[in-house]
């Protein structure tokens, strides 16, 4: 009950979906769409657990007066205001729900993203040291690629050629090899799950 049936479900579900991929019949299409809906629906209900976890953690921080606990009130406020607005005043453009999204979420996410401009620089400064041959290769390629944007008269012409060679030859080779490795590892992992060998996601009891 606690183990066999879930493992059976994983096995059958996995086998079925893997085979379905090779069957173009309409029936198989429809089943595929239906199965994806299962994923979506389980996800929807799981979100309840997510919000609950979030709520509990914040409340706990507030009750225990953990450092900076006051900010958790803001989190909860934001959460509930969005949910209430969303449920009762609609989510069309121009509604407060969307205004909060556009003027609170969007600028913050854009700025977080923009922070990367600084972090790329600091990471390059700290990490790109010619300690070993491998590190030197990493450093030099990065520099060559970055030089594309710096006018150096005739050198630029040459640099362009080198840069585009790097991108189309070694870079291409690296990307493909990594992809293949990931493919093998991923498929092996998926098989382990389907065969019930890999079950840490199911916990213990």
């Amino acid at each position: 009950m606690r183990w066999q049936i879930p493992l059976l479900i994983v096995f059958l579900g996995g086998l079925f979906m893997a085979v379905q991929y090779f069957v173009p019949l309409e029936a198989s299409e429809r089943v595929y769409e239906y199965a994806l809906d299962w994923i979506i629906i389980v996800g929807v209900f799981a979100m309840g657990l997510g919000l609950w976890s979030m709520f509990r953690v914040s409340v706990a921080k507030i009750q225990t007066k953990a450092p900076a606990w006051g900010f958790n009130i803001i989190t909860l406020a934001g959460l509930f205001i969005m949910i209430l607005l969303g449920l009762f005043s609609g989510i069309e453009e121009g509604k407060p729900f969307m205004s909060l999204f556009w003027y609170i979420y969007t600028p913050i996410q854009a700025t977080m993203f923009a922070l990367l401009a600084f972090y790329v620089a600091s990471a390059a400064y700290r990490a790109f040291r010619a300690r070993t041959l491998v590190a030197t290769i990493l450093l030099l390629t990065a520099v060559v690629i970055m030089l594309r944007l710096i006018p150096l008269g005739s050198i630029s012409g040459f640099n362009q050629t080198v840069a585009s060679w790097i991108l189309t030859v070694p870079n291409m080779a690296a990307k493909r090899a990594i992809a293949m490795g990931i493919g093998l590892g991923g498929i092996a992992t998926a098989l382990k799950v389907i065969l019930g060998i890999e079950r840490s996601y199911m916990g213990k009891d």
Binding site: I41, L49, G86, I104, A110, T111, A117, L167
Partner: protein, 208 residues
């Protein structure tokens, strides 16, 4: 801009500055923006999930179209909530195993196609020494081979094998360097966009 817009955009600018302040060090302004956006985004996501997934996938099919077979996944979904109780939480394995099974099954052939066969067949190009193009094809193929050797786990990297693995890791590093170098431009553009956003706002309200 009319007042409403000024206030809203003012908020946006303020939050932008709050986030940038983390570059100096952690501070109340960053904490404020952070905790605010966590709540708002979670609420936003939940509501979007409700309207774009719950309504069309659960409510409409069952309550309106009476497609009863949608009760199965819905019951599974509800079973997720057995996790609220310590004793019954094992029941949530049923929906989770269904989720996993489907997910893994879908993933296998897709990975085999997109991650292995597509790059593999793309690398099968005519090679040779007569022209640069042919020679580059040769180099790409060789690079892929060596990089794959690097990924060998069950064989010690010594001798010729080790040498190939070394060339492999060099190839990988060239790839990483290139990836890093290419990204700087895009990230800087995002920063430019933020700066212009703030500049425009201040020029606007100061009527410059």
């Amino acid at each position: 801009m009319e007042t409403g817009e000024i206030l809203w955009n003012g908020l946006a600018v303020f939050l932008t500055l709050c986030i940038f302040s983390i570059l100096y060090k952690d501070n109340p302004f960053y904490k404020l923006a952070e905790h605010l956006v966590v709540g708002v985004s979670a609420g936003y996501f939940a509501i979007i999930l409700y309207y774009n997934s719950f309504i069309p996938k659960v409510w409409v099919p069952i309550v309106q179209q009476h497609q009863w077979y949608y009760i199965v996944p819905t019951v599974l979904g509800i079973l997720m909530w057995t996790r609220f109780s310590r004793k019954r939480s094992w029941i949530s394995r049923y929906p989770i195993s269904a989720y996993m099974g489907i997910g893994m099954g879908v993933a296998i052939p897709v990975a085999m196609q997109a991650l292995i066969l597509v790059p593999l067949s793309a690398t099968m190009q005519p090679m040779g020494f007569t022209s640069l193009a042919l020679f580059n094809n040769l180099l790409v193929a060789a690079g892929v081979l060596c990089a794959l050797v690097y990924f060998f786990f069950s064989k010690e990297h010594v001798g010729t094998f080790g040498a190939l693995a070394k060339i492999g890791i060099w190839t990988l590093m060239v790839g990483f360097g290139a990836g890093f170098g290419l990204t700087v431009m895009g990230r800087v553009s995002l920063l430019i966009e933020r700066f212009i956003f703030m500049k425009d706002y201040f020029t606007n309200i100061l009527g410059l």
